[in-house]
């Protein structure tokens, strides 16, 4: 087993184990902090796959932004003194069957399908390439994404604002 294989299996264990905690834990705050391990593990996958820039983005946006927002969401929607926030599940057994079915289906597709083969991307720095792609081929989506962020900002502020201004 090479070093990269070892790292892969460790990361896979972290990601799937913590994701299971996220989904199955009865305590909401445990879910939220388990999500940290999932996001970090996925960032590790990106590094392993040679996507260093994306790994940094994953860390910055998911851990530094989305996770903190979610934790804030958890804390603001509960009486803060409760240490273990119970989050009940409903229809857990049918849900498990559905999830298992989906997993089986996707695994079958993933392993049987002959995916597009090619030389692949060798492990090299991606930042410059991604930067060029953003301002070249992907200029339109890049600009559109900025509009999306602006609108989401306006929208989120609008929803939580208590004052109804005329």
């Amino acid at each position: 087993m090479t070093a990269s294989a070892f790292v892969f299996w460790v990361l896979a264990t972290i990601v799937l184990g913590s994701a299971a905690v996220v989904v199955l834990s009865r305590s909401l705050i445990n879910s939220a902090f388990a999500l940290l391990a999932t996001f970090a593990g996925v960032a590790g996958f990106y590094v392993l796959l040679g996507a260093d820039f994306l790994a940094a983005v994953q860390f910055l946006v998911y851990v530094g932004g989305i996770l903190i927002l979610l934790v804030f969401g958890v804390m603001l929607t509960h009486r803060i003194q409760d240490l273990d926030l119970r989050a009940e599940a409903r229809q857990l057994v049918p849900g498990l069957f559905v999830a298992a079915g989906v997993f089986a289906l996707l695994t079958a597709v993933a392993t049987r399908t002959p995916w597009a083969q090619g030389p692949g991307r060798e492990l090299s720095a991606t930042t410059a390439d991604i930067g060029r792609a953003f301002l070249g081929k992907y200029l339109l989506p890049f600009e559109a994404a900025s509009i999306l962020l602006l609108v989401a900002l306006i929208g989120a502020a609008l929803i939580v604002r208590k004052r109804e201004d005329a």
Binding site: D52, L83, T127
Partner: protein
């Protein structure tokens, strides 16, 4: 790490007998150990200096009793702190209570991985270096929230939430002003950024597009000051309101870890500011780069970082604390517009070189826009001053 690897290969027979992965691992461990030592011994010095500075600024002597000029005072304090019992209040969430300080320290410590102390003394020259430092800082934020939550104490939780909100807000102007430098250097690699500034004082990015980058530096410095929760941005641990903020319940060794993290963050942030704007390990005069044929880059970087750390301390004993709304106001309505403006202007100046189409863009457009920026800053300052004066009048009346 490169330097370490080269050192290893100087040992006779090393390359033949030790496999590559082992020497890389060893080099990594040694590098990490060096940083860890630097980091954990640093606060001993910082605390002494901070207390001395505080003393001088308040016209007193500071610690004097233990050792000559009180030099051993912090060592004594540290020993006391480490041997104190780490108290676990009954209601805390045990696991998170322990994991939280570890996360905070990890987040602070991992920034060291990319700090370039010299062309070879750098743990890892990542292609996304500058971005990595910002990204890895998120870990500390999550750790703070975790600490606040696990303490099961409302002061701790409020402190943590304020702290997280503050760090997330100030991260934006910090990244934006960092982008200014990244645009100029054309790379996120810290090594490349320093490389662009080599060759003396006048090449520092601080002076590039004068005075635009000075403003960018101030924005970056202010934002990182706030990210370290230092005065005047230390509301998260405002004693008068929140006892001690997120670490209210912590004592002994775990408290020491938060302490360590705070001073490490201070050093990393100052070193980043030095790398981005003050030439990093490049000496102000090229002749001073080497002493006796030996590269003293690390000394320069540490000196610059320490100078900035001194400013942190200086500010702490000079400025009063801001209020929460003022804090957010500074981040979103002052620093962010300025940094966005800088990105646009510097980007424009970079795209249209000085004499494109026979027109001196930098002189005319650059100075015009800088003048506008100064007018904006001046009016903001004047408004703040008038507001302050009104507050005082109302308080008196």
């Amino acid at each position: 790490m490169d330097a370490l690897l080269r050192l290893f290969s100087l040992i006779p027979g090393w390359d033949q007998n030790v496999p590559a992965w082992a020497s890389i691992t060893l080099a990594g461990l040694v590098a990490a150990g060096l940083c860890l030592g630097f980091m954990s011994l640093g606060p001993v010095g910082y605390v002494y200096v901070e207390r001395k500075i505080a003393g001088f600024m308040q016209d007193r002597l500071g610690p004097m009793r233990v050792g000559p000029w009180g030099l051993l005072q912090t060592i004594a304090d540290t020993i006391k702190l480490l041997f104190k019992e780490a108290i676990f209040p009954a209601a805390v969430h045990k696991v998170m209570f322990v994991v939280a300080p570890c996360l905070v320290v990890t987040g602070a410590f991992m920034g060291f991985a990319v700090l370039p102390f010299s062309p070879t003394w750098q743990a890892a020259d990542l292609d996304v270096g500058a971005f990595y430092v910002i990204a890895i800082g998120s870990l500390s934020t999550v750790g703070l929230i975790m600490a606040g939550w696990a303490s099961n104490n409302k002061y701790a939780l409020f402190g943590a939430m304020r702290s997280a909100a503050q760090i997330v807000s100030y991260e934006i102007p910090a990244v934006m002003s960092l982008i200014v430098v990244v645009m100029i250097a054309g790379s996120l690699s810290l090594q490349a950024i320093v490389g662009e500034q080599a060759g003396g004082l006048h090449n520092w990015f601080l002076w590039k597009f004068f005075p635009l980058n000075v403003i960018a530096f101030l924005v970056f410095f202010t934002a990182t000051l706030a990210e370290c929760n230092r005065t005047p941005f230390d509301i998260p641990e405002a004693e008068s309101e929140l006892v001690a903020g997120f670490h209210t319940e912590y004592s002994g060794f775990f408290f020491a870890m938060f302490f360590l993290a705070e001073y490490t963050e201070m050093f990393v942030a100052s070193a980043m500011a030095a790398v981005l704007f003050l030439g990093g390990f490049a000496a102000p005069i090229p002749a001073l780069q080497t002493v006796g044929g030996f590269d003293i880059g690390p000394v320069w970087l540490i000196a610059k970082a320490w100078a900035l750390v001194f400013v942190h301390m200086w500010l702490r004993w000079t400025l009063p604390r801001l209020r929460v709304d003022q804090l957010m106001h500074v981040a979103w309505k002052v620093l962010l517009p300025i940094s966005l403006f800088l990105i646009v202007v510097v980007g424009g100046l970079l795209t249209w070189p000085a004499t494109a189409n026979g027109f001196p863009w930098d002189r005319w457009v650059g100075w015009l826009l800088s003048a506008l920026l100064f007018v904006y800053l001046a009016t903001t300052a004047a408004r703040a001053w008038r507001w302050h004066a009104r507050q005082v009048r109302e308080a008196v009346a």
